[in-house]
Each structure stands twice: as C-alpha cells, then as structure tokens.
Symmetry: C2
Subunit: 345 residues, 2 copies
DNA sequence: CTGAAAGCGCTTACAG
DNA sequence: CTGAAAGCGCTTACAG
C-alpha cells in the first residue's frame, strides 16, 4: 500500500507548475511543455488556451528542474581573487559576455587569495554542476579538481597555471612583459633598478621577477639583493620596501612594480620624495595617464584573458578533444612619463 | 505495459549518483543520503563503508537535484549595470560576502544599462529560482517582477528605486550629497557653478540635479541653463558639455560632476585648461587623492549599499513581513583640493 | 539503525 | 497533433 502522501515542501513559494497549467488549459503536460519551449506540433487554438493559462497563473518554467533532466545547467562558474578588484572587472565582464552568447549564466565568487576558500568555492560550483569552470588560482595544488574534470567539468585556468594537474591555461606573457619593462628603464640609463612584487608563491610574481633578472643580466648589470622585494601587496609592506631600496648607500634610481596594487603604493611613496625616481608598473590602471608624471606601464588585456579562456571553455564543451594548452597573450609597454625619467645621479 | 526504457540523458558527464554509491557500499539510498549530509543514525561501520564507496567512485552530491526537492536554491541573483565598472566591484563583493555567510552562492550579470536586458536577466534568474534578487535598475518599469515577488522571490533594489511597484530599496542620499557638495563650492566663493550629470531617465541623475538646484537657490544664486547638462556619460559628450560651460560670456568657475565617470572626463578637460577651475565629483574613485589637485568628492559607500541590501534580502527570506522600506545611506564630503580652489575671477 | 516508496518539476521516448 | 509513463538525482515521510 502506498503511503498517503501530501505535497509538503515549499514548492518554491507557491508557484504554479506545468501540471497546474495543463489542468487549467485542459491539456496534457507534454503539450504545455511544447508551448513553453516553442516546439512545433501544437494547433494555434491549443497553443492559445495554454498561453492564457500561463498568463492567468503567472507560470514561469522552473529551469532548475529542467536542468536536472537535461543534464546541462547552462551555467559557468568563475573563481577569482576578489570581485572588488578593478583588475578583474573587465575579465569578469568578458567571461559573462561569452557565456551569454552561449546562453549560459555566470556564478562567480572570490577566493580572497585563500587556497582553501578557492577549493571550497570551486567544489561548490561543481556540486551545482556548472558546465564549465574558470579558475584564477589562489593555491598551488589543483589535484582536487581532477575527479571533477574527469567527470566532465570543462576547466580553464586563467592568469596562472594550475598546480599538479595538466589543464588549459590562458595567461599573459609575464616574463617577457617584465623583461621588456625593465629593459626600457635600462635603455633610459638606469643601472640600479628595484623590483617590488607579489608573494613568491604566486606564479605571476616569480615570472615577472625572472623577467627583471633577465633584463638586468642582459644589460650586464648586477642586482643587489636589497633591490628586490617580494611579499604581500599590503600598502604598508610595499611602502617600507620602496623606502628601503630608495635609501642607503646604493639607492635605486628606478623601480619596477610587479602589479597594479604595488604600483599605486609606489606612486604614493615617490610623490613624497624630493628627487625624481623612474617607475614602470606591471598592469595598466585607470587614470595612470592623469598622474604627473603619467605612469608608464606594461599593460595586460584582462578582458582578452577572460574572452580567450571562455572561448576555450565552450570549445571543450562542444567536444573538442585537444591536449591541454597554454595560451600566452602578449603585453604592451605604454610609456607615459614615469618610465622615461632619467636617473637622478 | 511499461516501455522498456534505458537511461539515455548525458547524466552530467558520467557521474556516479547516490544510487551507485549505495550499490557499491551494499546499503540503501537513504543511508548514503544520511552520510553525505552528516545526519545522525548511522553506525560508524556503515558510515565507513559508504565513505569508501564515495571515495572510490569520486561521488559528489548533485546540488542541482537537491535543490529541486528542497525548494530553495541557496542562490542569490544580482543584476547590475556592468561587472567591469569599478563602482560595482565593492558592491558585488559585499553582496557575495553576505550571501556566503548565509551559505548562498551568487549569480550576477550586467544589464549594460539596457532595460530589456535587465528584464531578460532578472527573469532568467527567477527561472533558475534564485531565492532572492538584488537589482540595480536600468529601466523605470519593474512591474514585470510583480508575479515573481508574489511567488516568493525576495527582491531588493539598490542605488535607484523600482518603477511601478512597491519594493525595498537601498540607496545613497543623492539629493543631500549633491546639495552639500554644491554648497561647499558656493561657500568657497563660487557663484557660477556648472552641473554635468547622467541621463535624466536615471533616478540618481535627477536627484543629484535637484540637490544642485536646491543649493544654488538657498544661496540666492540664479542658474543659467547653459550651466546644466544631463546626458550620456560617454567621454565625448561630457567633454563637450564641460568645454561649452567653461567658454562663453558667463563661464562657470566650478563644476559639479554627477558621477565618477563624468568626474574623470572633467578632470581631463580641466587639466588642459590655463586657469584653475574648481571641481567636486559625486562618487569617490581610486587615486582621486593622487591627482594634482586631489579631487574633492561626495563619497558613497558602495560596499555598504550591497551589504545593507543583502541583509535586507535575507531578512525577507527568513519570513519578516514588514512593508517595503526605503533605506537611505548618508554620503560624505571628502575635500582634497579641487573643490577648495577659489573662483578664478 | 536502515531502507523502500513517493515526489520535487521538468524532459525523453514513446504510442496513439 | 496530443499525452501517459518513466526518469533526471536527490529528500521527505514513513515503516520496520
């Protein structure tokens, strides 16, 4: 004997379902489904009756149920560092636009640079069965995503490669960009150039440092270790590092800033100085051209990173079975004044 | 006779389900459910068997199915103007953090200031059955959301009130902020103050204009209509408007900029000028203090807007049945130099 | 402590 | 052109 059940769950507020629409229109469930989905094979007359019932009841298809049956959620997940960071705004928007072109919505969230939070968020997105996942890594070990990827979650990493697994990655030419930026300072006559960058566990930080060292070496310039400082991008830390390499017996005459947060802090420090110090920063930022002097930067294209990564994601979703690829986008040196200041020697 | 069906759908790649885990562990479906959800009433021994099966199969609960049965998706939808606009970054992040504290994920998207796209996106989110919706209006008519709200979608508007319906709204004191900013310029000796704002169909634009007019009137100053310009925030339009009111027989000696995009363009125009012109902008922005002169602004707190709105949303979701409320957050005048320049007369 | 049955709201695969 | 049945992968409401 079946139990004498009665519907009890919240039923999403108290929404009408296709069943309700069918009852009101006096048709079968499948006919409602046809009308709702614009499938052919319904008399104009029947369709009208169904449409009226839909209007009268305020029916809206529950995509959450649809998804369960169809097996694809038409949703893309994006894990980035911080939704509030202006660097990720254009990337975020680019991912949205490509997803939208494919009829997909975007669920995103911040890792806050915390590997555990990255993992937690990425796995929550997998539990929601996003079709694809775009991850800007906070951690260095992404083996936790292996089962998900094997189960069919298309995954593309952006800005930094995945750790411990082989996966698509889209990033900027960090090494080449930094090398070019430092070479630009050297070409301007600087022989003592400082480098202030992000924490060494972050891939982009070490790549840019590598570019710095390469440019110095190629110019036959020695690097005093007091000119190099990696660590948190917290303003206090960066300001102290800048002041330290600008003081002493062999002060730097130019600074290469490893990312936009560092650059901004260095600009503040330099503004408080007597002598002019040259500056080139990695990453462009709004108003860089309005400062005096304008800030010379090695610009990435964050929107392109997002666009290329999401294109790749949908390629994977459509069944392309290429080996994991590393796509590197070029950077661009934008001279605006600060990088063209001569050494104050 | 039942049809001889065979599972055929994509089954989310080829993921194991609770049924698979149950079979492997030799237990019932419900026992797996208990273990997965940490419910009591399972022998340590049984639990271990289930855990092993979970590991072996790489099982991850399908929250998408769970949601269908539970009736709540633990998802919040956010419709804003542009994910790439730095103004919305902190708001976006604040919404995320509050949602996260309630165990909910965030689906967001850009309206691109297009009312149709706002509607399309908001309704797509409703179809996904987000528990709540936060909308920064692009359009002026939100009656399309009435059935959804009646059906139980908690909805809070931010930055601008909803059109045509009665709903919660959280916004800044646009009128008071603008009035205070203009009064500040007047107190500095200015008698001819210009106003450049966003399109008049945008609520914040007209409110700020109202504040401007009030401050001028209170100072007994007449407003020449050539000093007022509302329209797109596209740089070309704004620059032309600025140049126009700075030329002529009765040029303004100060400009009040209606939002951050306008402010930035005005700064560029003023930088190309011979004489100093005072400027106060609505909205704070990064590096405003680093420009010369620093840019005086009427600052909103975008993160607070997001936080207060999302708190309200979850209050609604927990059953509070208060009438729709308008919550107005104060603004703050931040003097940095540009607003303290005396008239060049 | 454990599990079989029914159901969440749709779509799929059929049959008429 | 139309619709009844089964099923997507879970949870609910029971019974043992």
């Amino acid at each position: 004997m079946p139990h004498n059940h009665r519907p009890s769950g919240p039923r999403y507020g108290n929404r009408p379902t296709m069943k309700d629409v069918a009852a009101r229109a006096g048709v079968g469930l499948k006919t409602v489904s046809r009308v709702v989905n614009g499938e052919p094979g319904v008399t104009p007359e029947t369709e009208k009756r169904v449409q009226e019932a839909i209007e009268a009841l305020g029916f809206r298809r529950n995509d959450s149920a649809r998804v369960l049956r169809k097996g694809r959620t038409a949703t893309v997940g994006l894990v980035l560092e911080d939704l509030a960071d202006p660097f990720y705004g254009p990337l975020n928007r680019a991912v949205e636009e490509v997803a939208r072109a494919h009829g997909a919505l975007l669920i995103n969230g911040s890792s806050a640079q915390d590997p555990d939070r990255e993992r937690e968020l990425a796995l929550a997105l997998c539990a929601r069965r996003v079709d694809g996942l775009i991850v800007i890594p906070a951690g260095n070990d992404h083996r936790y995503l292996e089962p998900e990827m094997r189960a069919g979650v298309a995954t593309v990493f952006v800005d930094r490669p995945a750790g411990g697994i082989d996966a698509d990655v889209v990033l900027s030419d960090n090494y080449g960009g930094a090398r070019g930026g430092v070479a630009h300072l050297v070409a301007g006559g600087h022989r003592r150039v400082g480098f202030i960058g992000d924490h060494p566990r972050i891939h982009t930080a070490t790549e840019r440092l590598r570019g710095y060292r390469a440019a110095m070496a190629e110019a036959g310039l020695a690097v005093a270790e007091s000119w190099v400082s990696l660590g948190s991008t917290e303003p206090g830390r960066v300001a102290a590092a800048a002041r330290s390499m600008l003081a002493g017996r062999e002060p730097v005459t130019a600074v290469f800033a490893g990312n936009n947060r560092v650059t901004v802090t260095v600009v503040r420090v330099l503004a408080s100085l007597q002598r002019p110090v040259a500056l080139v920063g990695f990453d462009d930022f709004e108003l860089a051209d309005l400062l005096r002097p304008g800030v010379t930067v090695v610009a990435q294209d964050p929107a392109a990173l997002g666009r290329v990564a999401t294109d790749r994601l949908f390629q994977r979703l459509s069944g392309t079975n290429l080996p994991p690829t590393r796509i590197e986008l070029p950077t661009r040196l934008v001279p605006r004044g600060s990088g063209e200041l001569p050494p104050a020697d």
